[in-house]
Symmetry: C2
Subunit: 467 residues, 2 copies
């Protein structure tokens, strides 16, 4: 009475159900490694997190390569080639954001805790939990003894949270090894709880440190105040000059290259079940804000931004210290939309600062990493395969969305490898990525593993595209 | 061949010269006690610094009282009453500013180091070194066995750097004990190296913490950026809105009560040997800045200010963390001039923040301490006595100046005790009070001790004023 065409997939679904506990324990183990790539003190732990995933691949008999870089290493692995079937590349990262502020965590960021069906830990959703779904699915499929219907390659890096600069630099030399027909990345979110999504657009990014230097050292604000430019005030004035009251960014030429939203996209966004009031409430703010003339979804998915990520100046401890601080600095980042060039934006910021820096202080801009945004075609057979796989695992067809975050390397992959990219997010918008109490829903983790298993099956039915 | 009227003073000058080494060692000892009054961890060390001076007075046989407060204690001491002669009250403080940033100190702040004739340590000039001059002078005069020509009272407190609130509160109950004809305070500077000064005006102060609260926690700047008000940007916009391009403070009514400078004072300031270019160079800035229409001396002595003392927001460690920070805060202080009321200024700041806070964040102002500014009469016999004393010790008549800093308690003393105040600064403008590498010139320390001895002699010649 069995339908022979669905039997293997039922078998693997059953196997995945049986292995849920083991899959959870694997994730807990990986999350305990505090692989904060931006922290120079954490180098060993970052490597340890890389070794953890390398060991997984090795134990399963994949061909594995440990790739040293000028920074943190990458782990590459591949299943056997399958002639006539497409090649898929899974990209993910084992590094995580800094956990600060520590006192806002209910449980410590690197002691993962399960509460209400969620795993709480730094990296739970971004990206260890999500990338691990693909690893588990492939390793379990191999365990069944059946060959995979396609070749799956993995590249798991350790510098995504600091801009993937070494991967970007090494991409040309890695291109042959990474050659593929489709790239699969799970480092984003479902549209809402239980509503899976395929993400077809990402914003780019450009980050900076703006420093305003005043007197050679802190000065007594009584003896000197009024006669010396205050770098803290000057920094505030510079930043205030960058955004007007309607939320428009005032850097010259900032919007010149922006790819506008099509009417079709605006209608599609507007049709999604999304309440701005609920969204505001979920963030604990009285009202949303942003660029005039755009909805919240448009603002966060398809409009560029300029944000303060941090301010540092003068006395910050308890009590009063009446000084004119010698120096003030801000960490700034712009989210960019397709067609905006991070270098041109950095140039515009530098020109703005030079033009607006008041007398009596010196302002300088240090450029950090940059990456352009992207939008992908919705008409590929890979997207169709992903729709089927997600629908099967989540019991609901996915919606097509964009995402405000940046995966700097995606654009480079598309350029260098000439492959389409599937962004399949298993996370939720309230997973607190980059925030205290980051979490990942365990049910989504297990659904993600199933969706991944379905995906390999669906992709395996396709013929590789002629390039 | 001796002139009998000058013999006692020559004797004491000789004695003070002989004791220079001991005086220096005393100061080194006191400076080793890290009495940072704003640091809740330093309570014991603050008390220890109070005990140190209490012990000095006790050893010299003064009547001493250890006065507990709700915060740090005060030390009171007095020499015997001298009927028919005035009573002088020396006020000073044994607490110090926080030493941060520590890595800017050439030698550690609480390991005093003598280099090029200066003692480098936190508190060297503000105020341990300066107040100690009066203590040394009085104790040496008593050592000669001769009675002092007047009664000298000392009140050395431990909360000057945090606003003297407990002293202010207790002043009415202490008024009888502190009753005096003239108050002597050395917590300011000479006009220039070798040019002594009597300070007849001080600025007041009002300090605040401005906090801007956005989302309930840090958010991923990609997933949320553009749709949520950034508290760091909002803080910068709020602060920028407080000062215009010509350096005028934009709080409603801020200048209403300002006592304008008289033409005479402006002429007097202009006649002082002061180079704005040299001043800028000494601070390491390309240009001075400030309110249009005023000279640097006018700006720092007699015009009100609004300064950022510190900014705290989001990510401040190494590297990039792309967040919308949940909260941003600024430590702000206004220096006020005579007639401005700190409470009215705080009200104006609160109203400004309420009126300018953008949607999507909540801003709040916490008031810290406040004190009005003051100007004193130049026509008193005490000023004349001080001119003589300073002229004798420094070999040059003093100039009459104002000072931009605040000694919050001075105005309260004048009100409660009905006594004139002599502000006799032995420090130098480049002593780095409130900054790293605070110092005090040893020669000025010893000259200050001599000037103090001359002062008691000159004041002892006067009859107490009828009140």
């Amino acid at each position: 009475m069995n339908d022979p065409s669905t039997e293997p997939i039922k078998n693997i679904e059953n196997l995945l159900d049986q292995k849920q506990q083991a899959h959870t324990e694997d994730l807990l183990e990986w999350l305990r490694i505090a692989s904060v790539s931006s922290d120079p003190q954490a180098t060993d732990r970052v490597r340890e997190a890389g070794r953890w995933v390398e060991n997984r691949f090795q134990a399963a008999g994949l061909e594995v390569q440990w790739i040293e870089t000028q920074g943190h290493p990458m782990v590459y692995a591949e299943t056997p080639a399958v002639p006539g079937a497409p090649v898929a590349l899974v990209y993910g990262h084992y590094d995580v954001q800094p956990p600060e502020p520590l006192d806002h965590w209910i449980t410590p960021p690197f002691q993962p805790d399960i509460r209400d069906g969620n795993i709480y830990a730094r990296g739970a959703t971004d990206d260890k939990g999500q990338v691990l779904t693909h690893i588990q699915a492939v390793l379990r499929l191999l365990e069944t003894g059946q060959p995979l219907p396609l070749q799956v390659k993995f590249l798991i890096e350790g510098e995504e949270e600091v801009g993937s600069e070494n991967l970007e630099r090494m991409l040309p030399e890695l291109a042959d090894r990474l050659a593929c027909d489709v790239i699969v990345i799970s480092d984003s979110s479902q549209f809402a709880e239980g509503q899976p999504a395929i993400t077809y657009g990402l914003r780019g990014i450009a980050t900076f440190e703006l420093t305003v230097q005043g007197p050679q050292q802190d000065l007594h604000s009584g003896s000197f105040g009024g006669a010396v430019r205050n770098p803290g005030v000057a920094l505030c004035q510079l930043i205030a000059s960058m955004i007007d009251d309607s939320g428009r960014i005032q850097l010259d030429g900032f919007y010149d290259d922006v790819l506008p939203l099509s009417e079709e996209e605006r209608e599609q966004f507007a049709a999604l079940p999304f309440s701005e009031a609920d969204f505001a409430r979920s963030l604990g703010v009285d009202a949303l804000a942003g660029e005039e003339g755009y909805t919240a979804l448009e603002r966060k998915w398809a409009r560029p931004t300029l944000d303060v990520n941090g301010l540092t100046c003068g006395h910050q401890g308890p009590g009063v210290k009446t000084i004119i601080p010698a120096v003030a600095s801000a960490k700034l980042s712009c989210r960019l939309v397709p067609n905006q060039d991070p270098e041109k934006i950095a140039d515009a910021l530098e020109r703005h600062v030079a033009a607006h820096c008041p007398e009596g202080v010196r302002a300088s801009v240090e450029r950090d990493h940059g990456a352009p945004g992207l939008v992908a075609s919705l008409d590929s057979p890979y997207v169709a395969a992903a729709k089927t796989a997600l629908g099967a695992a989540f019991g609901k067809p996915p919606v097509m969305i964009r995402e405000g975050g940046s995966i700097p390397i995606v654009q480079k992959f598309q350029e260098t490898l000439g492959a389409d990219c599937l962004l399949l997010g298993w996370g939720l918008a309230d997973d607190n990525a980059h925030s205290p109490n980051e979490k990942f829903c365990l049910a989504d983790y297990h659904r993600g593993i199933k969706a991944s298993a379905h995906l390999w099956r669906e992709l395996g039915k396709l013929k590789p595209e002629q390039s």
